[in-house]
């Protein structure tokens, strides 16, 4: 299968690989996918004052497109508020990485990872976040 240059770049040089300690202040985790399906993404965000995502890290078990999709979203969510992060759509990820149709599910999973991380943050901080 031929991969786009952007997928190869993220795969060869993944951005923001790693983990934050789960108990660290402002850290929220989204884990989506299943090993049996061949993809598991873990996206962590570190949310600071005003609900702004200051840092993000990921680990992904999956194909090159799944690794690239999660690497890309760690770059995109940084500097956004959690509500702005939720505006990232799988179609934008797929377009940016020029994913072929059989790999669209990777971008959907990356969008789900953002939603899961934000949901985890909101669960931990039930008070409304100032926009």
């Amino acid at each position: 299968m031929a991969y786009s240059i952007k997928v190869l770049d993220h795969y060869e040089n993944p951005r923001n690989v790693g983990s934050f300690a789960k108990e660290e202040e402002g850290v929220a985790t989204g884990m989506v996918g299943a090993p049996a399906c061949g993809d598991v993404m873990k996206l962590q965000i570190k949310v600071g004052k005003g609900g702004v995502i200051e840092d993000a890290k990921f680990k992904t078990y999956g194909c090159g497109s799944a690794i690239a999709s999660s690497s890309l979203v760690t770059e995109w969510v940084k500097g956004r508020t959690i509500d702005q992060a939720l505006e990232i759509k799988n179609t934008q990820i797929a377009e940016e990485l020029a994913l072929p149709p059989v790999k669209i599910h990777c971008s959907i999973l990356a969008e789900d990872a953002i939603k899961a991380a934000v949901a985890d943050y909101k669960k931990k901080h039930s008070e409304p976040v100032a926009a």
Binding site: Y11, G33, A34, P35, G38, M41, K59, T60
Partner: protein, 403 residues
Amino acid sequence: MLKLPIYLDYSATTPVDPRVAEKMIPYLVEKFGNPASRSHSFGWEAEAAVEEAREEVARLVNADAREIVWTSGATESNNLALKGAAQFYAGQGKHLITLKTEHKAILDTCRELERQGFAVTYLDVLDNGLVDLEVLQAALRPDTSVVSVMFVNNEIGVIQPIAEIGEICRSKGIIFHVDAAQATGKVAIDLAELKVDLMSFSAHKTYGPKGIGALYVRRKPRVRLTAQMHGGGHERGFRSGTLPTHQIVGMGEAFRLARLEMGTENERIRMLRDRLLKGVSDIDEVHLNGDLERRVPHNLNASFAYVEGESLLMAIKDLAVSSGSACTSASLEPSYVLRALGREDELAHSSIRFTLGRFTTEEEIDYAIKLLHDKIGRLRELSPLWEMVQEGVDLSTVHWAAH
């Protein structure tokens, strides 16, 4: 100097041996006659070459040349054998038995026979990939007409107990077909001993050209088939179509070389395979797929847990290997062969098949071992599953959001 990428996919196809190519070339340009032309020397010359090649194919498997029918490859041989025998013997019964781990050329042909009104039993295999003879015995029915079992599995390289199955089938008058595409030049085949009625061969898995194969059709006791390709009545009516002389010459020479060299070649390849096996054994959580003893010498199939197969293939792109089999690796499905062995999906997803061959060197194997160590380490750093396992989480207890 090492040349990259390194070809370790000899079970997908092999290069044509230069000695084989050299022998084929004159039959394209100068000796171009139609072997069916009876009225001039062009035809006679081509016919003589075809018959010499037929002798060579027969000799590798200790058969009579008159039992060899040329086809376009093992897929066609499998189609002709299964459809031809099932249809010819339909009056005696309409039930076939095969394995879940067979090649798609068998499984899909069986599906077609089911559409034609035949019943097919697909047997499970043991977790080492071998058929359980008691399960096979129990599956036999009074109306079973054909049993088809592959000699060597294309993904995991295990060698099925062909002699024993042959005895069972012969004692009950059941036609026994064997797909031997992966076996020629790898295991000794003696059709004077084996009670096999039909056997499929391919040239391109044994250093011959693509597009040519053969079907062995036993004469004593005689096996009959309903032809699937109609026309000029070539190959005694079993398979019409002008014979591709150059391809046939190539297959004959490839099989002749296999007969002469397989003894020493297989020992050399086995040493390299064992070197690779030893080299990857010290990586954590490597699971070998398929029986290690009853196995061809050139195959290693391993699952690298917590690393996904496609990303591993990307990481080791200096190695030409396959994940699952070449026919299924374009899909996102894990290997159906490994699933039939009872491998969990995640291990099936992370399997790599290494198949070595005539031109594999020790230097190439050493490079492969180092690359695997480096890249599996890197991908595990990226893997949330690996991280969880290191933290002591039992992944089977995690509730995954399947998608």
